[in-house]
Symmetry: none
Subunit: 190 residues, 4 copies
DNA sequence: CATGAATGAGCCTTCATTCAT
DNA sequence: AATGAATGAAGGCTCATTCAT
């Protein structure tokens, strides 16, 4: 990592902290600069705008999370277990890199373009993973109700359920028992 | 409805439109005023602040939704069906009154107090309903995995799943088949 | 007093109270209206502007004070005593009608015209009284240092000393001993 | 003086001019900015608020005046003369730095806290000086009427007389003869 | 490279005043 | 005679962004 990247990293780390504390809108460039120990104008030397910092930051974190989740389910055979582990891993990792928070939470109407772009990447990647798992489950006849033609939509639904859980429950809350219940519920039903 | 309430309503309707378009932060009083065909200062004749408009608006919508949802599940016996109908009704109604959107979406870090207050009402009411359904289901032995002591946490989890679905999927998306899948998934599992 | 005058009086009384509490600038028409138990727009039926209320009010009070002060010194012979009594009476009365306060205090730069007009009346009247006393004192040879040609200027100076005392000391402060010292000092010197 | 202080000084000088023309309330940040040849927002780079500018400004001026007044009376022996010179110096200096004007004039009801703090400093310092002079005069038996136990109150009274003269007379008016009369009057009486 | 300094655009809010009823 | 309703104008303040050094 050259010098330039190093400074960018310092700034992003700082931004990560304040963004996850105040959200995109309420966080000011001053906040970030102060947290990074840099001057406000310095930020503009490395990033074009506040949004660009946020975007950069989010993409990095998303990639890391997806990478880890993929790794985690690699050695598992049962589709149901794959799904359980995927969700669990995702939760854990998001809690660590808690800053995509506002992104996932879709904080920003009025910044549509910004968010949509970032988000789409995550959604597409995640959908692919889940779809793969579901396909596998169908093939192995592991799922009761799921029909062939619903596959893609079901993937979508699960994805959104996961997203919702991420947002509302586990990020703010440290109750591992709830995580278990949630995962079991998604996979096994009531 | 007297004159005062009528104008308040005009303003709230206008606010509803722009809030749901831009969110709380990005929406300016000017936006609302313009949309309502009133002067900016007129808004202050009827509401004390931008936040008050938002709060007013949100509470109204929440009450309507909860009212309809309660009515919808009244005549239903099976707990599983109750839950299905509750979710379905909630989705439909939220789609209609789409403006609590940002509220549910929890747009606002940094306005904690405002949101928290409104939101808590909804959460409490919703939790009560779901808890009731779950209790019933347990009593009638309709649920496979759910244990007595998990009741409250399970209610919580379901609530958050629903919340997540509301946010990410159905609001932006008009696919009734997905709704079915989602509901079935929550109730029956994969 | 006809009906019109009666309402005007109610408004002025109310204004008196709030003006003396907050001063001209910080007092709003809403404040006055609320204190008067009238609607804000009603004030405009009786007065052209906030300033007009203030002006009206002040002139009334000034006249009363001057009237009482003149009456008080009427029966006194010694010029020095006349002056002492004049000052004492003025103080007492201002304390009672404490609202010209801001006027005397000249609160309002930026409303020059308003204030200057009212104030001039008071200044002229007061100067006349003091000048008369001084002239008398000179005639009776009661004053040590005062020369003929300084008369008018001396009157002016005394007037301003009185004004200063009114403002800074006695209005905020209830120390009759200080009043005595002050009066003695002005008349007799250190 | 570094750059920062230089700009602050430019702003304060500008503020001094407009404040003394319009007073604290009626002067807007726009006024100051325009007078300083800066953008309105620039003012906020150097000062946190309008009040802070005012406070800064006032304290500076007060310190200068007190410093000069103290210097002026240092070499003088007679208490009466000391007092005369103190008053004369104060007047002259205030005329030069004419901006504490509104401060002394106590323009602001409703901004109590701001003013009170600044003002208190001046009052305390001034009282100390006068008290010292009076004590000296008493010791040397230079005063006719003043009694021991009245010392503090007398200092207070004189202080307020001076304050009044400052406000009402000499600031608006350029009559050095009047100054003489006033000083003589305070010290020697009529 | 880094930043101190500067600013334009805008935001929320207040308030004296107007006017139709 | 009285006022509810409406508003224009302004004010204090914030902040992302620019730029010369």
């Amino acid at each position: 990592m050259n010098k330039d990247e190093a400074v960018k990293s310092v700034i992003k780390d700082a931004a990560k902290r304040v963004f996850s504390k105040w959200g995109l809108n309420k966080t000011t460039m001053e906040d970030i600069a102060h947290e990074a120990g840099k001057a406000k104008s310095t930020l503009y030397y490395y990033f074009k705008s506040k949004e660009e910092i946020f975007e950069n930051l989010s993409i990095d974190e998303l990639n890391i999370i997806l990478f880890k989740a993929k790794a985690a389910i690699k050695g598992i055979n049962s589709p149901k277990d794959k799904l359980k582990v995927y969700i669990a891993t995702t939760f854990t990792e998001i809690k660590k890199t808690a800053n995509i928070y506002s992104l996932i939470k879709g904080e920003i109407k009025g910044n549509k373009t910004l968010i949509d772009n970032i988000r789409k990447r995550f959604d597409i990647s995640e959908e692919a993973i889940i779809l793969e798992i579901l396909t596998l489950g169908l093939k192995y006849n592991e799922f009761n109700f799921l029909k062939d033609i619903e596959l893609k939509k079901a993937a979508n639904v699960i994805m959104e359920i996961i997203r919702g859980l991420e947002i509302n429950l586990f990020l703010e809350n440290e109750d591992s028992e709830k995580v278990d219940i949630a995962i079991r519920l998604v996979v096994e039903g009531l």
